[in-house]
């Protein structure tokens, strides 16, 4: 049973690993480069016992212009988990497909294409609708997507909606004579 440290020593010989974070004895996160990522995942599956892809997701670091894909793997023998991060260029997000490693990978990749616009060339059914039928906007999980503006335009407001600004309200009621129209 490989401890996280032993596993890292072994993998570190062959892969460029960074941002290693041992969160618990049975939970480890690390980052691997995009060209090495799929080979790295395959080694984890075939040689290190991480046979199960628990989930696959993405984080949008809009300020840094990058996406961070996250593959969460589970080892059924040791019940250890490992989270593998991979940085992608946010403006041209494309990643090698893992549907050949884990069949359910195609579903996650279809979802990530729909929600973030990430391309996974060769992934079956990549452009099928995942849960957004007839979506005509930018992918909605990208942080530049303005949910409120979209909702206002698409659905409008229920009758009876309307808000009062706390500062304005307090000024009107509490000190009306002391206002010069310089409120902002």
């Amino acid at each position: 049973m490989a401890t996280p440290t032993a596993l890292l020593d072994e993998l570190g010989k062959r892969y460029t690993l960074s941002e290693i974070h041992i969160q618990r004895d049975d939970l480890l996160f690390l980052k691997v480069t995009k060209p090495q990522a799929v080979r790295f995942l395959k080694d984890l599956r075939d040689d290190a016992g991480y046979t199960h892809l628990t989930f696959m997701t993405n984080i949008d670091y809009i300020e840094d212009g990058r996406f961070t894909l996250t593959y969460m793997l589970h080892n059924y023998d040791t019940h250890h988990e490992i989270g593998v991060h991979v940085d992608l260029d946010r403006d041209n997000a494309e990643m090698d497909s893992i549907h050949n490693l884990w069949a359910q990978g195609r579903t996650y990749q279809c979802e990530l294409r729909e929600m973030y616009g990430i391309r996974f060339p060769g992934s079956p059914g990549l452009d099928d609708d995942f849960c957004l039928e007839g979506w005509d906007q930018i992918p909605p999980m990208r942080k530049e997507f303005d949910i409120v503006a979209f909702s206002e335009e698409r659905f409008g407001n229920r009758p009876g909606r309307g808000s009062t600004d706390p500062r304005e309200h307090m000024g009107t009621v509490m000190y009306p004579e002391h206002r010069d129209g310089t409120e902002h």
Partner: protein
């Protein structure tokens, strides 16, 4: 058709008598998990209506609305969040951001009604079946979207600060200011509490954007003493800052200073661009303190010819002669005053009205008068022996030091009082090398001085003795010394519900010898210069009671500052001056004010 096809429907029928596999709904309701995100609950009493929930809601599902019977007051807008469940996605960001921690989610998730408008309600206020529900999502104690701790400001150590009169607080660096500004949620609850109703969220935003010029313009809309107030303001706004509900309030005062300190005086005129045309009317102002000079600024901007009469050799009033330079350096006060003067405000220094110029001349030659002379006469202790030559007033000591003279307090000093003047007199005495004891008749928490003044005076080695009532002052053996007799006091709760009262314990008396006793129990005003006008102006407890827009019973006389408000601080004086300027403009223009 086979026989099986004929019989099979009857096989199905036999199931009609078996127990169904599916759960019956809604007869067997399943409770949500303990931390389930169901319908909202808001603890209305704890909510302050800051609107952070509305601001963070990604789906625009929340409106801040008026609630019947809930009026706005300092620290509470009186508004409460109303939820539109057609938009809510139960992300609970509203719960996580809630400054009062009053908002939470119940674990109640199933609610059936045929009226879609029923899913649009004020949580916690409208009666809902889950309002008493004790389970559901809460923010974790260790999860914070807000930064609860204030960015500290660098300061001189007590040892260093005692060496002289250098400014103790060093001011925020740009990095510190940005971090502190970043904590603000921009709710604007503080604006009502600020006596001058400064645009706090806007200028904090300017700090965040490093827009020092825009920030300065915002400050001057309501306060031409921003360099000063950025240092010594009583910062009532911070008392009601919603960040203070769970952490420390935003350092609003320090952020004001951060703006003013970053704009050099030479650039004020260009940035503020205060242009006006003369309107030919003249206003006299008595007193060049924050009240008088603020009135001068706002009147000048409307084109009035403004003359300020000041008894002292410099402007600033109590800010100069009552606040020591380690809290407010003179050059910073001058920065504010000089800009106002640069607009063509004529300040006549060393000119005491009633002595150097008759009040009647002001009345005859001006269209309106604003009086903000401040409280400069020390109140009497009203105990035997207080005329002793070794008893001096706190103001006298501060005045001496402000004028560069040695206050001559000796090595052992007792200060009587618990206000800012008492604290400053004590700290100044420490700086000239004295051991200082402060005697105050109530408890430390009752002291009217700013908490930081109390804190800093303790740090600088002043010995604070609460619940000490002076009884008598008498001669010491050494003619250069003086003896004070004081007794310990017990706090007795007031039967009428007022604050507890100190009662002298005659069996616990003390007698001590000092080089100087400093009396600093408050100040009164001196209004004799106004002559017969005084009879037409309402007064109570030695202060004027102005009407709307600071106007008095003599229609062309307006009053403000310490002589006309109960707070007696710089920021209130600034607003009185500003408000009087509004009033005078109405009075002298067609807008009307009789």
């Amino acid at each position: 058709m086979s026989l099986k096809d004929l019989i099979s429907p009857f096989y199905v029928w036999q199931r009609a008598f078996q127990k169904p596999y599916t759960q019956k709904r809604p007869i067997e309701e399943r409770p949500g998990a303990p931390r389930y995100r169901g319908f909202h609950i808001n603890l209305t009493e704890e909510c302050v209506g800051c609107g952070s929930c509305e601001a963070i809601c990604q789906n625009h599902a929340i409106d801040m609305v008026k609630v019947e019977g809930l009026e706005p007051r300092n620290g509470d807008s009186g508004l409460r969040p109303k939820f539109d469940y057609g938009r809510c996605c139960w992300c609970a960001l509203c719960v996580d951001i809630c400054t009062a921690r009053s908002l939470r989610l119940s674990n109640h998730y199933a609610w059936v009604t045929e009226d879609p408008d029923a899913f649009h309600f004020i949580a916690g206020t409208d009666a809902m079946p889950w309002n008493q529900n004790s389970l559901g999502y809460r923010r974790d104690d260790d999860y914070h979207l807000l930064t609860h701790d204030r960015i500290e400001m660098d300061a001189l150590s007590p040892e260093e600060s005692l060496k002289g009169f250098d400014e103790v607080m060093k001011g925020y660096t740009e990095e510190q200011a940005l971090l502190e500004a970043d904590r603000c949620v921009e709710c604007g609850i503080c604006v009502a509490t600020c006596p001058a109703h400064m645009s706090v969220p806007d200028y904090i935003k300017a700090v965040r954007n490093k827009d020092w010029e825009g920030g300065l313009k915002l400050l001057y809309e309501t306060n031409p003493f921003s360099t000063t107030c950025g240092r010594i303001c009583t910062h009532r706004c911070e008392t009601d800052c919603v960040l203070g509900l769970q952490g420390t309030p935003i350092a609003i005062r320090w952020l004001k200073r951060a703006i003013a300190d970053r704009v050099p005086a030479e650039r004020y005129a260009e940035i503020l661009n205060d242009t006006f045309t003369e309107n030919g009317k003249k206003v006299a102002i008595v007193g060049a303190g924050p009240g008088g000079m603020s009135a001068a600024y706002y009147l000048r901007k409307q084109g009035y010819g403004v003359t300020v009469f000041e008894a002292q050799a410099h402007g600033g009033g109590m800010l100069r002669y009552g606040v020591p330079s380690y809290r407010l350096p003179e050059n910073q006060l001058d920065k504010d005053i000089d800009y106002i003067r640069s607009l063509g405000v004529d300040v006549r220094f060393n000119t005491r009205v009633g002595q150097d110029v008759p009040f009647s001349e002001l009345m005859d030659n001006h269209d309106a008068i604003f009086i903000a002379t401040g409280l400069s006469s020390p109140m009497k202790l009203r105990i035997d022996g207080e005329e002793h030559p070794r008893v001096v007033s706190g103001l006298k000591i501060l005045d001496d030091v402000a004028k560069g003279q040695d206050p001559g307090v000796g090595k052992r000093v007792a200060v009587i009082g618990g206000g800012n003047v008492a604290m400053d007199a004590a700290r100044v005495s420490r700086r000239v090398g004295a051991d200082v004891t402060v005697l105050y008749r109530r408890r430390i928490e009752d002291m009217p001085a700013d908490p930081e003044e109390i804190h800093e005076s303790k740090a600088e080695g002043c010995h604070l003795v609460p619940q000490a009532i002076p009884v008598k002052i008498k001669d010491a053996d050494d003619p250069n010394q003086v003896v004070i007799v004081w007794g310990e006091a017990e706090m007795v709760s007031d039967a009428k519900g007022g604050r507890p009262r100190p009662v002298l314990q005659e069996d616990r008396m003390h007698e001590e010898t000092y080089d100087t006793i400093v009396s600093a129990i408050g100040q009164g005003g001196d209004y004799d210069f106004m002559g017969e006008c005084l009879g037409s102006i309402e007064q109570k407890w030695g202060k004027f009671i102005p009407g709307a827009y600071q106007q008095t019973g003599v229609s062309k006389i307006f009053v403000g500052g310490d002589i006309a408000n109960s707070t007696a601080d710089a920021i209130s004086a600034v607003e009185d001056g500003h408000h009087a300027a509004r009033g005078i403009h109405r009075f002298l223009s067609e807008e009307g004010l009789q």
